[in-house]
C-alpha cells in the first residue's frame, strides 16, 4: 500500500500531463459510443435515440441482403491486404535507400518529395489521375496508346493496379518516414563490424537492418490490420470518378454505406455498418497481437 502510494505520488505530474488527452478521448471517442444503440434502432426523431423502436439485427440484415455484399467484402479485405504488403515493402525499401544517401540536402529532398503526396487531398489526386486517364484529353490515351486507346473509366481490368499504385504513391511517404526513424536508431558500429567481417550490402540489410526494424514493422502492421474492414472513401469513390462500370472492383464497405445513406433508415444502417467495422477491427487486432506475442513476446504491443 505504502509503495503504491509513493509510486502514485511520483507519477502525478505524468498523470496530469495525460489528463487533457484523456478528457479529449472520453468526450470525443467514448461518450459518442452510446450512439452504438442506433445500430439496433429504427431511428425516429420524434422518439429520440433511446425511445426509437428497437429492430434487433434488422439494420445488419440490410447490409447482408445486398447482392453485392460478397464483392464488397472481398474488395475491402483484399485491397487492404495488398495495401499493407505493398506500402510496407516499398516503404522499407525506400527507407533503406534514402538512409544510405550521404549527401544531406539530397536526402532531405528525396524524403520531402516522397512525403508530398501524403499531404494532398484525394480530390486533387483524383484530378491528377483524370489528367492521365481522361478518354478525351488524357495524357496516356493521347501519347502512348494513341492508336489503341483504352476506355479507362469503363474498363475495370486495370483498376486494381491503378488503385494500389495511387494508394502507394500517396501513402508510402508516411511509412518511409517511420522506417527511416527506425533505421537511424540502429547503431552504426554494427554495420562497421559487419563490413569488417566481409558482409556485403544485401547481407547487412537482411541480417542487421530488417531484424532491428521488426518492432516498427510489427507496430505499423498491427495498426493497419485494425483498419482492415475500413477503406479510404476518397480513394475508392473519387479516384474512379464514381464510374458505374468499375463498381465491381471499386465498391468497398465505405462507398456502399455512402451510397445507401440517403435511403430511408440510413442512420441506423450506417451505425450498424460502423459497429461491424469496429468490431471486426478489434477482433483482428487482438488476434494478430496474440499471434505476435506467441512468436516473440517482446514485439507485441500489449
Amino acid at each position: 500500500m505504502g509503495i503504491g502510494r509513493r509510486r502514485l505520488k511520483q507519477y502525478i505530474p505524468l498523470y496530469l500531463m495525460m489528463l487533457p488527452c484523456a478528457i479529449y478521448l472520453i468526450v470525443n471517442n467514448y461518450i459518442p459510443m452510446t450512439g452504438i444503440v442506433a445500430a439496433f434502432k429504427s431511428f425516429k426523431v420524434t422518439e429520440g435515440i433511446w425511445g426509437s423502436p428497437s429492430v434487433g439485427l434488422k439494420n445488419f440484415e440490410y447490409l447482408f441482403s445486398s447482392r453485392d455484399i460478397g464483392i464488397i467484402i472481398r474488395n475491402t479485405l483484399l485491397y487492404n491486404v495488398v495495401f499493407i504488403i505493398v506500402n510496407n515493402a516499398v516503404g522499407i525499401m525506400l527507407a533503406i535507400l534514402i538512409s544510405d544517401v550521404h549527401n544531406k540536402s539530397l536526402k532531405k529532398l528525396y524524403q520531402s518529395s516522397i512525403l508530398l503526396p501524403f499531404t494532398l487531398s484525394m480530390v486533387i489526386i483524383s484530378y491528377l489521375v483524370f489528367a492521365f486517364l481522361s478518354q478525351q484529353n488524357g495524357m496516356i490515351n493521347n501519347s502512348i496508346l494513341i492508336d489503341n486507346p483504352v476506355q479507362w473509366y469503363n474498363d475495370p481490368t486495370w483498376w486494381p493496379v491503378i488503385l494500389v499504385f495511387v494508394n502507394c504513391w500517396k501513402g508510402v511517404g508516411y511509412s518511409t518516414l517511420i522506417y527511416m526513424a527506425g533505421i537511424s536508431a540502429i547503431d552504426r558500429s554494427l554495420y562497421e563490424a559487419a563490413a569488417i567481417d566481409g558482409a556485403g550490402k544485401t547481407k547487412q540489410i537482411f541480417r542487421i537492418t530488417l531484424p532491428l526494424l521488426a518492432p516498427s514493422i510489427i507496430t505499423l502492421f498491427l495498426l493497419s490490420i485494425s483498419r482492415i474492414f475500413y477503406s479510404d472513401f476518397g480513394l475508392f469513390y473519387l479516384i474512379p470518378q464514381n464510374s458505374g462500370s468499375l463498381y465491381n472492383v471499386t465498391s468497398t464497405i465505405d462507398t456502399y454505406v455512402y451510397r445507401s445513406l440517403m435511403a430511408p433508415g440510413g442512420i441506423g444502417r450506417s451505425a450498424a455498418t460502423g459497429l461491424l467495422q469496429a468490431a471486426v477491427g478489434f477482433v483482428l487486432v487482438i488476434v494478430a497481437n496474440g499471434v505476435v506475442r506467441k512468436v516473440d513476446a517482446s514485439n507485441a504491443m500489449f
Binding site: P32, E47, Q135, S243, M262, P264
Partner: protein
C-alpha cells in the same frame, strides 16, 4: 466517417436541447412567436440585414418574428438530415422529393392535413396542384407556385447554328418517330466537320437521364407510366423501346465522337462546358423564358430545339414541397405563417431579391434591378431562386424580362399534357428496401448506358436483369396496387 457524423450529431443534440431549453423559457415571456424558416439559397450567411427588414414586415402583418435559415445545395445533401436529427429549432422547411421517403421514415415532417383550416389561401393559390402534396393519407407539404411541366430540349450555340445555315424550322423532333432524332445527329456531324477542335455535344444530362420529361416516373422511376403518362399500366421503362432508342442514339454519338469521350464520367453541367468555350450543344429541361437564362448561364446566344412534348406529372410538381417540421414549437402559428408566404408579394420579393434600396430597386419599367453602383459581383443578397420560393408568380420580375412574364409562364403550362396519374403520389414505405437496392443498381449502369459509353444491348440486358434481382417487380406491383386504389377513388 459515420462515427464522426454520429458524434457531431450527438454533441449537437445535447447542445441544442440545452439551447432549446434556454430559449423556450425566454420565449415564454416574449409574446410574438418566432418562425424558423429554412429556404433554399445559392449562398449562406448573407441574410442578417434582410432578416431585419423581414421582421418588420411579419410583425406588421402577422405579429410574428422570423429567423431566416438559408440552406445551400451541399448543406442540404450532406448535413441537413443530421441537422434535423439534432433538433435544431425549425418551423418551416423546403424538402426535395428525393428526401420524402427518408424524412418521413425518420418522422421529421408534420402531417399538414391536420391543419388545413389554417392554410386556406395555399389551397386557393395552388388549386388542384395542392393534391400532389399527399403521400398516402398524409399531406406532406405544399408545392411551390411555378411552372409545372418539365420538357427537354437541345440547346445549340446560335453562332454555330447560323454559320452552318440551319433554321429552327428545319427541326421537327418528336418521340412519335425516333428517326426524327437523326436530324440532330446530322447537325452534330456537321459541327464536328466544321469545328474539328470543338466537342459537338457535352454536359451531364441526356435523353434517358431526364425520365421526368418522357414518362410519369412515379417518384423514383422504378415502374413508370409510359408515353407521357397516358396509360394506367405500370411498366418497366428500362425495358422499353424508348430507352433502347435513346441509348442507341447516344451510343452512335459516342462512337462517332460527337460527344466527349468522358461524357459519362464527368459531372459538369452542359451550361458550364459551353461557357468554357469548347462545347457546341447540350441537353436540358426548360421552362418559359429559357433562352434568357441559358444566355446568362453560358454567355452565348443559343437556339433551342425541343425534343419532347410537355407533360405535367406529380413528380414534376412536387419536386420540392414546403413542409412544417416536427420540432416546431407552435405548429398552428407555423401553418399560418406558411399560408401567408403564398399570398404576400413583399415576402416573396424580399426572399428572392434581398433588402429594397440596398440589394435591389424597382426601375422605371416596374421591374427589379440593381441600385446605382451595385453589380452582380458586389451585391450582398441576390438569390434569384424564384422557382423554388412559395409563389414566384407574385414576384417583381428582374429587369430585361418580358413585360408579361408570369402570363407566359402560365400559358407555358396550359398546353401541357397531364399524366393520367396526376395527383397520385407513391408511398414507398413498404418497398423501401427494394427501392434502395434498385437505386444502387441503376447508379451502377445509368451513366454508361445512357451516354453510350458501353454497348447498348448488353448494357440494358444486364441492367434489367439486376433490377429484377433487386426487387423491381415488387416495387412495380406495389405501385400498380396503390395506383389502382387511387384511380378507383377518383
Amino acid at each position: 466517417m459515420w462515427k464522426k457524423a454520429l458524434s457531431i450529431t450527438l454533441v449537437l443534440v445535447m447542445a441544442t436541447t440545452l439551447m432549446a431549453g434556454v430559449m423556450s423559457t425566454a420565449f415564454a415571456q416574449e409574446e410574438p412567436y418566432t418562425v424558423y424558416f429554412a429556404y433554399h439559397a445559392p449562398k449562406e450567411g448573407n441574410q442578417a440585414a434582410l432578416n431585419e427588414v423581414m421582421n418588420e414586415l411579419t410583425m406588421r402583418e402577422l405579429n410574428m418574428k422570423v429567423e431566416l435559415i438559408p440552406i445551400g445545395w451541399d448543406t442540404y445533401n450532406q448535413k441537413y438530415p443530421a441537422m434535423l436529427a439534432a433538433q435544431q429549432p425549425l418551423d418551416i422547411s423546403f424538402v426535395f422529393s428525393f428526401s420524402f421517403a427518408s424524412f418521413l421514415d425518420a418522422g421529421f415532417i408534420v402531417d399538414a392535413s391536420d391543419y388545413v383550416e389554417y392554410t386556406p389561401d395555399i389551397f386557393e393559390v395552388l388549386g388542384d396542384d395542392a393534391q400532389v402534396g399527399y403521400i398516402g393519407d398524409m399531406l406532406v407539404g405544399f408545392p411551390v407556385m411555378n411552372t409545372r411541366a418539365a420538357p427537354s430540349a437541345i440547346f445549340v450555340r446560335k453562332d454555330i447554328f447560323d454559320a452552318l445555315g440551319y433554321k429552327e424550322s428545319d427541326f421537327n423532333v418528336t418521340t412519335d418517330d425516333y428517326a426524327s432524332f437523326g436530324q440532330i445527329t446530322e447537325m452534330l456531324g456537321r459541327i464536328k466537320e466544321a469545328y474539328p477542335d470543338m466537342v459537338p455535344f457535352d454536359g451531364h444530362r441526356i435523353f434517358a437521364e431526364n425520365s421526368f420529361t418522357w414518362v410519369d416516373a412515379m417518384s423514383d422511376g422504378f415502374g413508370v407510366l409510359e408515353n407521357y403518362g397516358q396509360t394506367t399500366t405500370v411498366t418497366n421503362w428500362y425495358e422499353s423501346e424508348q430507352i433502347k432508342q435513346f441509348s442507341l442514339l447516344a451510343r452512335e454519338w459516342f462512337e462517332k465522337g460527337y460527344t466527349s469521350k468522358d461524357i459519362a464520367v464527368t459531372q459538369e453541367l452542359g451550361q458550364g462546358k459551353m461557357k468554357a468555350g469548347n462545347c457546341a450543344a447540350f441537353f436540358a429541361s426548360y421552362t418559359a423564358n429559357a433562352l434568357t437564362s441559358v444566355k446568362s448561364q453560358t454567355g452565348y446566344d443559343c437556339v433551342m430545339i425541343p425534343v419532347s412534348a410537355k407533360m405535367k406529372s406529380t413528380t414534376s410538381v412536387n419536386a420540392v414541397l414546403n413542409c412544417v417540421m416536427q420540432q416546431s414549437k407552435d405548429k398552428v402559428k407555423a401553418f399560418q405563417f406558411l399560408n401567408w408566404c403564398y399570398t404576400s408579394k413583399e415576402f416573396n420579393d424580399l426572399l428572392n431579391w434581398g433588402v429594397p434600396g440596398v440589394d435591389w430597386v424597382v426601375n422605371d419599367d416596374g421591374q427589379a434591378d440593381y441600385p446605382e453602383g451595385v453589380t452582380t459581383q458586389t451585391v450582398n443578397y441576390h438569390s434569384d431562386f424564384g422557382f423554388i420560393y412559395p409563389n414566384q408568380f407574385l414576384m417583381t420580375p428582374w429587369a430585361g424580362s418580358p413585360a408579361d412574364i408570369w402570363e407566359a409562364y402560365r400559358e407555358f403550362d396550359e398546353d401541357a399534357i397531364a399524366s393520367k396519374a396526376f395527383g397520385f403520389s407513391f408511398d414507398a414505405v413498404n418497398v423501401a428496401n427494394e427501392v434502395a437496392q434498385c437505386s444502387a443498381v441503376l447508379s451502377k449502369y445509368q451513366a454508361d448506358i445512357f451516354f453510350g459509353a458501353v454497348d447498348t444491348e448488353t448494357g440494358l440486358a444486364s441492367l434489367n436483369a439486376e433490377l429484377y434481382d433487386a426487387g423491381l417487380q415488387t416495387i412495380m406491383d406495389e405501385k400498380q396496387r396503390q395506383l389502382d386504389a387511387w384511380l378507383a377513388k377518383q
